[in-house]
Amino acid sequence: MDTKLPEFTLPNPVRPAFDTTGHDDHVIVNIGPSHPATHGTVQIIAELDGERVVRTDIHCGYLHRGFEKECESHTWHNLIPYVDRLNYVSALINDFAYCEAVETLAEIEITPRCRHLRTLLSEYSRIVDHLTCVAAGLMELGAMTAFLYLVMIRDYMYEHIADLTGARVTYTYGRIGGLARDLPEGWLARLEGILDQYEMFIGRVHGLMDRNRIFIDRMRNVGVISTADAISYGYTGVILRSTGVPRDLRRDTPYLAYAELDFEVPVGIKGDNYDRYYIRMREMDESVHMIRQLIDTLPAGPISVDNHRFTLPEKHLVYTEIESLINHFKLVMDGPQVPAGDAYAAHESPNGELGFYIVSTGGGIPAKVHVRAPSFVHMGGVHRMLDGYQLADIVPTFGSINMIGGECDR
């Protein structure tokens, strides 16, 4: 049979920073973009001296889907499902950070119950995110049992959040000026049950991993970054804290209900992979502690502000009275009218500072929505943690950075 080759050449989508080695014995190896051990769709072009990594060139953007461009042609409310898909492991935190940016611009003060619920769900999401990161990192090192313990708990949490929001991963639960709906009956009781199970299984993971010789050999003194480098490269969140600096937006510039909570900010001592693993484990414990405080102090009252220019009316009113129908129609078709101006809101996401910079020209559709995605900024300095270590160390180091393609590439 006659097989004819296509008459075009596919250009290389990336231009590597280097294509010759500095030494005759060195080789250039291309890792990714779709490699089972890269924690996300990312390409690493590495120069190797035997098994040692000499220098690396990181290429991201394989999941770029024009998020910011798309935002400029939808109403403010319609963006909530999109922001869910940035960091899809902790989508609720994206929701709340985006809503807070719009609320800052529109000068909306959310209700006490909404503030507490958003805090509670942010911490819940943080546990889910850290569980995913730690579990995947351990699995990549061959720790299958610990992986299964962690994702089992994570699945209880997914199911539980689905009871509240109706979805397992991308929730669309935040609303400008409030939340989509209040807690269902018995939700908090089940939450306490899951937290107890979490504690039991996390104890087993500590027992399996913390003093495991193989684990320590792979993690300790690997992927080290100094505080000065971390700050220079814009690192925030777990990676900055792993270098020993207690910088956490929840403590330093409290937002939502964090000012009322008692919690610790765990820090590392060396800035290596083991510190990042341990900080995530400790932060989950702190989140559990915070959630318990929030359950005890959860105020009663409405979950959304009483502001018909932003909040969607109750569904049964839309069907029964003309004012609510018009209200609903105007909010859906024209979008909430956000005053002209710009605002930046930052939340402490599980990866670091997640910022939304929004610009409005005074209408229902944003002029610009820009995301300061921690994963993207972290990719800019990742060569500092890969260069000089073994090729096999790329796997745990990259896992401990927790690069999320959705928010990195947008």
Partner: protein
Amino acid sequence: MGAVLGPLQLRLAPPDYEVTLVHGMPVVRLPSERLLDTVRLLKDEFQFDLFLDVTAVDWLPRQPRFEVVYHFYSTSHFGRIRLKTTVPDADPTVDSLVPLYGSAGFMERECHDMYGIGFRGNADLRPILLYEGFVGHPLRKDYPKLQEQPLVPYRK
């Protein structure tokens, strides 16, 4: 957050600078040629050691067309600041912050990708979220959302 506002207003005086407080965040408007000096001053005297973000806003058809927006944070006094400078359509170039912050390298590449802003002093402005050979800058307001640039010809 507004605690640095008073000292900033004293240090960055008109007519070159305009310092205001917008939704609780100090905002400094400045001419683009003063950018590098000002950022160095903010880093050395006001401890803004974390360069968070750079992006641009396309104000088509207004002139000057582009506004380049910077966000900084201080890990010692936890203040935030936003810097805004404008560049014209004909020469959308500002000084790069690579000499001061490591994080500038990647973030400026993204801004160059999306808006075509040039960063003088950043030697590595290769495409980062887009690919090699992409024509145009997609976040510019005159770039149609539905424009396609297929790398592989469509099947007939």
